[in-house]
């Protein structure tokens, strides 16, 4: 390409000044320039001419003759240096065809040169170039053009081999990629189907489990409301227990569904402003925090690569959990963050009732909770189904992160979430 650009510039200069080296091109300058431009265009668009090989060969031959005429007009064989004119058809024939046409063109050019020498023989003798020198010129032309053909052919072959090799490699890689893409697409489809199946399943289970529970609750509640006065104390307590237990189960189904909905929601990853996320969650919990007199301090937090809505649920659940287990009026929650060894670390520190080490693993499991007597705050165990921290764990692990708790009974708790700062290699 650089060579083509150089040649183009040079011959543009030739066309403008009508001069080549010291010689005046005169009337043939436009022909000469047009020929150069045409050759360059044909070389650049070689692929388009692949099915027109014969026509291209005829064009080469025509060009050789035209070059001879130009050479003759410029002063004949006196311009030995203009032998270079023949280089164009020779190179072009190599570009257009990989067969022996380069030799054909080169020797056709040499033959034209010999014909010129014969044509101009007398005139050459007049300027002092004798017969022997004329023969030497023609032989030189033959040799020079055949050397040119040799190098063009060899270089061209190498280039073509390289091109063929590259093409084969590209085709190979493309095929591999296509296969891989197809596999990925079919896996994605299978996953989508599984997801749909799961949705249908969860949906059906929810409806079929909740419908009888709903009827049980309404019936028991109805009896309690209608017969309140007529029932004995023990019966009323038993009915109340039924309502409480069935209500607890109903809440578990509701939260299970909520967990499924939150964790299965498709969402694209992006840079998430963790601090804004935490401040938003604090605002959302504002009424409850104020009602319980809890002080929340949010430190500087780094950005993290992840799914914003899901990480929002992580933050809300951790804050909500802290809020639940701090004592009224004296509650404190500190949210701090840092970048440690390529991880974004989020710490939620509360001064609540703490968690005995025996339950540190269990609280992250579905419906996992510390038994009621050991989690009383302000004299009663707060409500809940034990799904919140399971949601946290699932979301954090789907982000290739970890969550842990450090705590002891009565000592408050520190929940530490570690997320890969770069999304764990997922861009």
């Amino acid at each position: 390409l650089i060579a083509a650009a150089g040649l183009f510039t040079y011959f543009a200069f030739v066309a403008a000044t009508r001069r080549i080296f010291l010689f005046d091109l005169g009337a043939v300058a436009p022909i000469f320039t047009a020929l150069i431009v045409l050759n360059l265009v044909m070389a650049a668009t070689a692929a388009r001419w692949a099915s027109w090989r014969r026509l291209v060969l005829v064009y080469q031959a025509g060009q050789v003759l035209l070059c001879s005429v130009v050479l003759h007009e410029l002063g004949g064989l006196m311009m030995g240096s203009l032998l270079i004119t023949y280089a164009f058809p020779v190179i072009l024939s190599e570009i257009h065809a990989s067969d022996g046409s380069v030799w054909l063109t080169a020797n056709l050019a040499a033959a034209s040169y010999a014909a010129l020498a014969w044509w101009e023989s007398h005139w050459l003798a007049d300027v002092g170039i004798d017969y022997q020198q004329q023969v030497a010129l023609v032989v030189f032309a033959f040799l020079a053009l055949n050397f040119l053909a040799l190098y063009t052919d060899r270089y061209g072959n190498q280039l073509r081999n390289l091109a063929r090799h590259l093409q084969a490699k590209v085709a190979e890689r493309t095929a591999a990629l296509t296969t891989l893409n197809e596999e990925l697409a079919s896996k994605a489809r299978a996953l989508e189907e599984k997801q749909d199946e799961l949705r249908t399943f969860v949906y059906a289970v929810t409806h079929d489990l909740k419908a009888p529970l709903n009827a049980i609750l309404l019936t028991a509640d109805l009896v309690l409301a209608r017969e309140a006065g007529a029932l004995g104390g023990e019966t009323r307590d038993d009915l109340g227990r039924i309502v409480r237990l069935a209500g607890g189960t109903e809440d578990m189904i509701r939260d299970l569904l909520e967990m499924f909905r939150i964790t299965s929601q498709p969402e694209t990853a992006a840079w998430v402003d963790l601090e804004a996320l935490v401040r938003g969650a604090v605002d959302a919990l504002g009424v409850q925090l104020t009602a319980k007199g809890v002080a929340v301090a949010v430190g500087q937090l780094p950005n993290v690569w992840g799914q914003e809505r899901k990480l929002g649920h992580v933050v809300t659940n951790l804050l909500g959990n802290a809020l639940k287990y701090v004592p009224t009026g004296r509650g404190r929650v500190d949210v701090a963050g840092a970048l440690e060894n390529g991880s974004v670390v989020l710490r939620v520190h509360d001064n609540g009732i703490g968690i005995p080490p025996a339950y540190h693993r269990g609280i992250f499991e579905l419906f996992g909770r510390v038994p009621d007597p050991e989690r009383e705050v302000d004299g009663a165990a707060p409500g809940g189904t034990g799904v919140g921290l399971a949601i946290v764990k699932r979301i954090v692990e789907s982000h290739r992160g970890t969550v842990r708790v450090d705590s002891a009974a009565g000592q408050g708790a520190v929940f530490t979430v570690r997320l890969p700062a770069n999304g764990g290699g997922r861009a």
Partner: protein, 139 residues
């Protein structure tokens, strides 16, 4: 029974029984268990030829034969029924279901209450907003 007529459509007999007991003092409660019975009731086709025209409908999202949007579509095809307010109740607040119900013409979509008081409040609030005056609270 006095008050506005209400048609409750639900395949759970326990719920129908509770609904009759909870709403019976404020509304005239009629109950059917299948979607096509609901449509027949509203169109006053046999065996519901003598049925009153209800002031509003409480419709469970999942019925054995049709879901709520299908029932609503059937109602909308009738000039006389298209304006009857419909409250759709479901076991869960699935957004897709809520959207489908509203798109089919439901006035409201609520999670089915599982306490007497809550059920009464949901129905009375709905009636107040989409139908008539607040019924006398005799419960």
């Amino acid at each position: 029974m006095t008050g506005p007529d209400v048609l409750v459509v639900d395949d759970n007999q326990g719920f129908l029984r509770a609904a009759r007991a909870v709403l019976g003092d404020a509304f005239r409660v009629h109950t059917v268990e299948r979607g096509r019975d609901a449509v027949a009731f509203l169109e006053r086709r046999p065996p519901f030829a003598e049925a009153p025209r209800p002031a509003f409908v409480i419709l469970d999202f999942h019925l054995p034969d049709m879901d709520a949007p299908a029932v609503l579509d059937a109602l909308r095809a009738h000039d006389g029924l298209a304006r009857t307010p419909v409250l759709v109740l479901s076991q869960a607040d699935w957004e897709e279901d809520a959207r489908a119900a509203r798109a089919a013409g439901a006035r409201a979509f609520r999670v089915k209450p599982s306490r007497v008081r809550a059920l009464r409040d949901v129905v009375v609030d709905f009636w107040e907003e989409h139908g008539g005056p607040r019924p006398a609270d005799r419960g």
